[in-house]
């Protein structure tokens, strides 16, 4: 007996799964999302630099590519989407830079192509003009092409917002539910999870790094994914003046991604150091950190190791070499009907709204009845961000709810009010709170607020502090009470 029946089951609550769930929640269709982690957006989506690229920043965005079509389809949707969901979308603009004059030809070619595709006209600046706008750029940079449209988003915020909006409109989200096996039978699938069985008519495989494994459960693995590990470093907020837009050096060899990017929070990210790797290895390495720093300094010499407050990594999943290094897939499997794979390597964040639309069309074409839901509400209110409010707004908010007057995280000025609201919106862990309202993302990385946030989560969820985890499952923060070890020691001997 299945524990649940649903029309469409989405596996994975990354940015692609969430975008799809939200798009489907416009209809009266019954949608369920299963996610093995304790929160949404914690796969590749978390380990990401958040650039909404414009599809004209490399020559690899060829109009004949599927991923380019998805991206171009998504671009006009992104800003209004962020507005509806009240998540930050900042047009920082971007530079494609060259280190030697020979590469200028490549820039000219890009600029010509951009024009001919009707994507606007990017202007070339020589170093002397460039320096006026980005004064910290290394004098070794010869010049660069400026793309004013480049924007940044916070991929995890966007994923949470889409998922929140989808569930508000009727979609079902099951966290800490891992798909372990799938059987296809007439008219549907039986999906085994560690929380029970789910019957579904359509299956959308948005499992990120594990798309091929899920496909293999059905024998639909007629493709290969190449995991390329990308490591990214985070600089202290105090360095924000070093770059105000995306700085990227035109790749000198394939896979070479030397960039510095401002985040919506005002930190700078640098990287991306790439490496072919076994995909379950999520560790950062000293070697990669050093290489990334060395590269970043070629762009901005003032970056110092002392300013690095964190680093992380994620996997870019690329399809087979034969069909193009950069190709992606959002398509019904050729082997298994009603089974849709979603996988996008680089512009997965940028392309997500386009990919979701494509899934809807595939479902409709396949004959799924999808009646628009007149009650669909596209809007979602963001959690108030105390640190960004004006004096007057702050005073009013504290007056209304004194918990907004209690600053819990000193580095990021996060209040108890925001933390409580994050828990109400679904955060059950320290990372869940951190990725919604930021305590612990600042310079002290939770050293001060960790114990305090733990206490608030325990109180709000009505659980003991010893059960509060960093990121779900066994990742408890303080597994024991004091004296427990002594008592145990006393009994044992």
């Amino acid at each position: 007996m299945p524990d649940l029946e649903t029309e469409v089951l989405i596996i994975g609550a990354g940015i692609l799964g969430a975008a799809t769930a939200r798009e489907l929640s416009r209809y009266k269709t019954d949608v369920t999302v299963v996610e093995k982690r304790a929160d949404v957006g914690w796969g590749i989506t978390k380990a990401n630099v958040g650039v909404v690229c414009q599809g004209r920043d490399t020559l690899e965005f060829r109009p004949e590519y599927h991923r380019t079509r998805l991206l171009w389809r998504a671009l006009p949707l992104m800003e209004p989407l962020c507005e509806e969901l009240e998540v930050p979308f900042i047009r920082v603009g971007g530079w494609l830079l060259i280190r030697d004059q020979v590469k200028k030809e490549k820039l000219d070619k890009l600029a010509r192509r951009t024009e001919s595709l009707g994507l606007g006209s990017d202007k070339y600046y020589a170093y002397s003009e460039l320096r006026e706008l980005e004064p910290f750029i290394s004098p070794e940079i010869k010049g660069g092409l400026h793309d004013p449209e480049i924007a940044v988003v916070h991929p995890v915020y966007l994923t949470q917002a889409m998922m929140e909006n989808a569930t508000a409109n009727g979609a079902r989200l099951m966290l800490e539910t891992e798909v372990t096996g799938i059987e296809a039978e007439h008219g549907g699938f039986t999906v085994r999870t560690d929380q029970g069985e789910i019957k579904a008519r359509y299956l959308i495989n948005a499992a990120g790094e594990w798309v091929d494994r899920i496909a293999a459960m059905l024998g639909a693995d007629d493709f290969v994914l190449f995991p390329i590990k990308g490591q990214v470093g985070v600089l202290d907020r105090n360095c924000s003046e070093l770059a105000s837009s995306l700085l990227a050096v035109i790749p000198e060899e394939p896979g070479d991604m030397n960039i510095v990017v401002p985040t919506v929070e005002g930190n700078l990210l640098f990287g991306i150091q790439l490496q072919i790797n076994r995909r379950h290895d999520r560790s950062t390495t000293e070697h990669m950190t050093r290489l990334a720093l060395k590269n970043a300094r070629k762009l901005i010499p003032d970056i110092s190791d002392k300013d690095v407050i964190n680093s992380f990594c994620g996997y870019l999943m690329f399809r087979n070499f034969e069909i193009g290094w950069h190709e992606c897939e959002v398509a019904m499997s050729e082997r298994v009907p009603r089974f849709i794979n979603m996988t996008i390597g680089y512009p997965g964040v940028s392309a997500s709204p386009g990919a979701a639309l494509e899934v809807v069309e595939i479902l409709q074409k396949d004959g799924l009845q999808m009646e628009p839901d007149p009650k669909f509400n596209p809007h979602r209110k963001d959690i108030p961000d105390f640190s960004k409010l004006s004096d007057k707004e702050r005073a009013a908010l504290v007056k209304k709810d004194p918990r907004y007057g209690h600053v819990v995280c000193r580095c990021e000025t996060v209040t108890e009010g925001e933390i409580v609201e994050a828990v109400k919106r679904g955060a059950t862990t320290l990372d869940g709170v951190k990725f919604r309202v930021r305590p612990g993302t600042g310079r002290c990385q939770g050293g001060f607020c960790g114990p305090r946030v733990t206490r608030i989560i325990a109180r709000e969820l009505g659980i003991p502090e010893t059960e509060v985890t960093k990121a779900g499952r066994d990742s408890t923060q303080v597994p024991l009470r004091t004296k427990q070890l002594l008592e145990k020691g006393g009994r044992d001997g």
Partner: protein, 417 residues
């Protein structure tokens, strides 16, 4: 409506309390301490070990005992305190913006301000340890709060990275709690904290101290499962082939403290890149008139007694400034760290009046001879970067020497300590 305040002190640790008391003694009428925590005392309530007050009270006290002496004093003297109130902004005109659950959103424009915000610990990210990102990696101070204040244990088998005082004290504390501390790992050839702590916290409990070692990798998916420890070479880089896996469920990081100067920065206070704290003069005035500073916010002290003394200077000067609306600028002579001296505080002195100099050496050494610009010479059996040197310089001697412009402090040593 903002109340009138003569001196506002930000932070109620030993520095803030001492500064507030001194300001009252100097005659300031309204002295207000603003503190974000739920109690007074800053770091001290969680330091339940002894070793406090040896200089100031000539007594061996625990953190809470030391703190109580100052708290009682402050209350007696009519110092006002506002707890659970966080200062979120300070500008160059000394306008303070603070917020609290109880008192709401507030602004103050005091006659003078004393910065006493203390410091924070370097985190895993700042130290840059590679590996996975499981639960069970935390700083020693955070662990201390969990264990001593909240009553929780982050794990049962520990490796401590860094042999600062907090790390060593926690190694002992956790052992007393029934946990196993596998090793304290230190990248430098010498321990980072006081000798007394090395002896009393590590040797006495048989906890190995691995000098010239570091943690080169963190293992584990959900919880820490172990760390790789290895030797480092002269450049402090991990040496291949010396790696060893130590199973544990917790890694404590005790890799140094950073003065907490976000507010100072906002007010435009000039910071010293070496100490991480404000550049201060003899009166502990910062580069912004009317803003003074004392305690760990200025430099990381190893003994709380010096924190209190330093903050008293700041508190007194702040009261004078609040009264007169300005202070005599005492920026006559620049104190310059010379041979084997990492820094000297205060960075500016007037050339008149007695002054206490605080400094740290770069490298340890035996038979050390300290020379303060020829005005004062002093011998030490040994010097170590982890032990702050405190010297009293007499105003009279300084005046007689006729030194102007710069006062260079050198430290010669024989052999390594």
């Amino acid at each position: 409506m903002a109340k009138r305040v003569d001196v506002a002190v930000i932070g109620a640790g030993p520095a803030g309390l001492a500064a507030a008391i001194a300001a009252r003694e100097q005659g300031a009428e309204n002295v207000l301490i603003i503190e974000r925590a739920e109690q007074l005392g800053g770091l001290l309530p969680q330091c339940i070990h002894n070793g406090f007050g040896l200089v100031y009270f000539e007594q061996d006290m625990t953190g809470p005992e030391y703190e109580k002496a100052f708290m009682d004093r402050a209350v007696d003297m009519g110092v006002e305190t506002q707890l659970e109130t966080m200062v979120i902004d300070l500008d160059e005109k000394r306008e303070i913006t603070a917020v609290s659950r109880k008192h709401g959103y507030m602004k103050f424009r005091p006659g003078a301000v004393v910065l006493a915000m203390g410091c924070r610990e370097r985190s895993r990210g700042a130290v840059g340890i590679p590996g996975t990102r499981p639960a069970g990696v935390l700083t020693a101070g955070t662990c201390q709060r969990f264990v001593n204040i909240e009553g929780y244990m982050p794990g049962s088998r520990y490796v401590v990275l860094g042999s600062g005082d907090i790390g060593m004290i926690m190694a002992r504390r956790l052992t007393l709690e029934g946990a196993k501390v596998e090793a304290v790992v230190e990248i430098m050839p010498w321990p980072g904290g006081l000798i007394r702590n090395e002896v009393q916290c590590l040797h006495d409990f048989g906890i190995p101290l691995l000098l010239e070692h570091t943690v080169s990798f963190i293992h584990g998916e959900e919880r820490v499962e172990g760390v790789t420890v290895c030797r480092v070479d002269a450049q402090r880089q991990p040496m291949q082939g010396t790696e060893r896996l130590i199973p544990c469920d917790c890694l404590l990081i005790s890799a140094g403290l950073i003065p907490e100067n976000e507010l100072s920065r906002r007010a435009g206070v000039a910071l010293d890149p070496v100490t991480g704290g404000p550049v201060v003069d003899q009166d502990r005035q910062t580069s912004v008139p009317g803003i003074f500073a004392g305690g760990n916010v200025v430099q990381v002290h190893d003994l709380v007694d010096w924190v209190s003394r330093e903050a008293e200077v700041a508190g007194r000067s702040a009261a004078v400034f609040a009264d007169k609306g300005r202070a005599k600028r005492t920026a006559g002579i620049k104190v310059v760290p010379g041979k084997n001296v990492r820094y000297v505080v205060p960075q500016l002195i007037s050339g008149a009046g007695d002054v206490t100099l605080h400094m740290r050496v770069k490298e340890p050494g035996l038979s050390a001879r300290l020379d303060v610009g020829g005005v004062l010479k002093k011998k030490f059996r040994s010097v170590r970067p982890s032990e702050m040197i405190v010297l009293d310089l007499e105003g009279e001697a300084l005046r007689k020497s006729g030194i102007k412009g710069e006062l260079v402090v050198d430290c010669d040593t024989k052999g390594s300590g």
